[in-house]
């Protein structure tokens, strides 16, 4: 039956589908060294960090609300964005092949990388092929994820970050703490000190004024921009229909890297493909407004292969898996792959606001990172893997879902991940959630009440949507009746509704009858 002639043309018989592998353990930047509550505990001691973060996230939030509110069709754009991404994932093989074909047609070269290690090797080989021992970098999550800079360094190649925030992080031998503003945890005085120490020949009279600091970075990088032979970038979008790639930025460092060097190497996660050029009309509205709260970011570059007489004459696209296919094989991971990395969910998250990005241990922090990181890199060795603590690093308040331009239901995904983790490890989700909560929140009692009402309620309800057993102190109440689980849509609105308030009151009143069931709050 399985003779070649019986098969459909162009299809390869692969037998039973196997689960694709996650990003290799121990490589790249998708895993911290400590579990979230432990790491968060230390970050919380940093008053400066919390002040910076609080100010920054509140300010972006307000701007974002203003500019999304001014579009009467914002919800329709979100619906379109979400559907385009879902449709993209369904058609990923054909879209990737189409993108590859179009890039080659326009004079580019396409490489495929099974994981970060392979991508690092490909980039290194390409850089060495140019004879250069330095590269300019455009800020990119994908290359951060695979630890490209560190790998290049081990191969004798110096990578210069050109985005101001990434430069600050690099010069400080630090790690990024936010998707969009990686140096959000640093203030102007710290940045001046870093520049004075690390930039050769910098004016010793440099003041801690943002304009002066930006000017120092401009002077430092200008000569590099004019002379560098090779640049490495990521991509916000890759259009299958035309082979067009896109980088969205503000400073012009992206334009410099994409235009001046002779060779350009772009590393793009396979989930970043979009079917049609027309789809940009949706994402160019969703991304800047969600991300920086601007109507449009200052600069967006679109290029297709190579253009004779303009820009790099040697263009390489590296298509990166590194756990993305593993995520795709799972309903949770699949939804998380829709993320366009706008960082809106970070800026509204009460947990992120207190801990900052480093506590998550991964290139992807905040609510989406808590989902994406375990999906890409796994939750191995259930108890000890820091990644297995990430699904609990959330109050499940639902603010991230409301903010997400592509409507990723992050709270539901976190609840599902907790299910998966508890099934795998035999531990109780409740204990871990409490631990994360008690560490992070100023008023853990209130937090735990919300957890129970919304998150744990959902968690305990299982997939039939009914809670038959609530944890203490609500046990007495749930023993005598089935509680409908909070609706999937929005925990926050359920919590704020009359029904939610009534359920909470009743639960609390009955819970009082079981004083022995009190929860231990670990400091």
């Amino acid at each position: 039956m399985n003779s070649p002639a019986d098969r459909a043309p162009n299809s390869t018989f692969v037998g039973m589908p196997t689960v694709p592998p996650r990003s290799p353990y121990g490589a790249g930047n998708l895993r911290g060294e400590r579990a979230f509550p432990k790491a968060a505990h230390d970050e919380l001691a940093n008053e400066q960090l919390r002040r910076n973060l609080g100010r920054a996230t509140h300010s972006i939030r307000a701007k974002r609300l203003a500019v999304t509110g001014e579009l009467p069709d914002w919800e329709q754009l979100r619906d379109a964005g979400s559907a385009i991404k879902t449709d993209t994932m369904n058609r990923l093989p054909e879209l990737l092949e189409q993108l590859e074909r179009k890039v080659i047609e326009h004079g580019g070269t396409v490489h495929w990388a099974r994981d970060g290690i392979e991508a690092n090797e490909i980039v290194t080989r390409l850089v060495k092929g140019t004879g250069s021992d330095e590269v300019l970098k455009v800020k990119s999550m994908a290359t951060q994820e695979i630890g490209l800079n560190e790998y290049l360094e081990s191969q004798g190649i110096t990578a210069y970050e050109t985005d101001l925030a990434e430069l600050i992080v690099q010069l400080a031998h630090d790690r990024p703490s936010h998707i969009l503003v990686p140096a959000i945890h640093r203030n102007r005085d710290e940045i001046r000190d870093i520049f004075l120490q690390e930039i050769p020949g910098v004016d010793p009279g440099l003041d801690a004024v943002p304009a002066q600091l930006a000017a120092a970075a401009r002077a430092y990088l200008r000569e590099k921009f004019m002379t560098a032979k090779v640049a490495v970038s990521g991509a916000n979008f890759g259009i299958a229909e035309t082979g067009t790639l896109s980088v969205v930025e503000s400073e012009g460092n992206g334009r410099m890297c994409l235009t001046v060097p002779e060779t350009l190497i772009t590393v793009m996660g396979i989930e970043k493909v979009l079917p049609r050029f027309q789809d940009l009309e949706v994402f160019l509205q969703l991304l800047p407004r969600s991300s920086t709260g601007e109507r449009m970011n200052p600069y967006t570059s679109l290029w297709t292969g190579v253009t004779p007489g303009d820009g790099p004459q040697d263009f390489h696209l590296v298509l990166l898996d590194n756990g993305r296919t593993a995520a795709l094989a799972d309903a949770i991971g699949r939804a998380a792959l829709n993320c366009i990395r706008c960082s809106a969910c970070l800026n509204v998250c009460p947990v992120y606001e207190r801990t900052g990005g480093h506590a998550y241990g991964s290139t992807y922090p905040g609510p989406i990172g808590a989902v994406l990181t375990p999906q890409l890199a796994g939750m191995h060795g259930a108890k000890d893997d820091p990644n297995s603590s990430l699904p609990y690093a959330s109050s499940l308040c639902g603010a991230c879902f409301d903010a997400c331009p592509v409507k990723i239901d992050i709270p539901s995904l976190l609840v599902e991940l907790r299910h998966q983790h508890t099934e795998q490890s035999g531990t109780t989700a409740e204990k871990l959630a409490m631990k994360a909560a008690a560490t992070v929140m100023q008023r853990p009692k209130l937090f735990t009440a919300a957890q129970k009402a919304a998150g744990l309620g959902r968690l305990l309800a299982g997939r039939d949507g009914t809670i038959s057993h609530l944890p203490p102190p609500f046990r007495g109440w749930s023993d005598s009746r089935d509680t409908p689980a909070p609706p999937r849509q929005s925990f926050r609105s359920w919590f704020a509704s009359a029904e939610g308030a009534e359920a909470m009151r009743a639960a609390a009143a009955e819970g009082v009858r079981h004083p022995d069931d009190g929860i231990q709050e670990t400091p």
Partner: protein, 212 residues
């Protein structure tokens, strides 16, 4: 090696889709497209958005172009400017400085010696204050030309200004190198305080020709 990786990744994607098929999806495009605003409203919206990004805006008629261009360049003390080879020479008729016509063999460091650059544009979006440059168009020039000098003066015909993003995107030639510009180069990386002018042009001047 690479061919193997390609086959491996593609077969992993197919396996993943077989293990977890996604919901059949039709993309709803109920958002606003095909909008048209009268000239005066489009102009007012565009100017409002440009000014919001601290872009300097001048409006004039087509016949006043040369005078306004010369005046703006003069105000910035721009003595040596670059232009793309296909720029309408009439636009510079009143300018008395040195004009370098760009070509592919001029290296970027030489562009760094220019005081500014004058170009046309392909299309603009009023609602976001975005100017779209097509590097394959003879009057817009190489990407480096509009990037390296510190002053960019862009002459825009009001008739090319579209209302929203979908209307503007629909008029692009996708495989040309395209640069979308919304105000001068800016960063908010230090305590989220906006600073104009990092690596791109620190000054963006726009001349809108209302009858062209």
């Amino acid at each position: 090696m690479t061919a193997t990786a390609r086959e491996t990744v593609l077969s992993r994607v197919r396996d993943a889709l077989a293990l977890s098929p996604g919901p059949e999806t039709v993309v709803p495009r109920a958002y606003r497209t095909g909008r048209r605003l009268p000239d005066t409203e489009r102009l007012a919206l565009f100017v409002d958005r440009l000014v919001d990004y601290r872009t300097q805006v001048h409006t004039c008629t087509a016949s006043e172009t040369a005078a306004v261009v010369a005046e703006v360049l003069h105000a910035h003390g721009a003595r040596k400017i670059g232009v793309p080879p296909g720029l309408d020479p009439a636009w510079l008729a009143a300018y008395d400085g040195t004009v370098l016509t760009d070509s592919a063999d001029i290296p970027a460091p030489q562009l760094d010696l220019l005081d500014g650059v004058v170009t046309a544009s392909t299309v603009s979006c009023a609602e976001t204050g975005t100017i779209f440059l097509d590097a394959a168009a003879p009057d817009q020039g190489r990407r480096a030309l509009t990037l390296v000098p510190d002053l960019h003066l862009c002459v825009i015909d009001l008739s090319s200004v579209q209302t929203g993003v979908p209307e503007a995107v629909a008029r692009l030639r996708p495989t040309h190198p395209l640069t979308l510009i919304s105000g001068p180069s800016a960063t908010s990386d230090i305590e989220l305080e906006r600073v104009e002018g990092v690596h791109g042009p620190r000054t963006l001047e726009v001349v809108i020709r209302t009858d062209a």
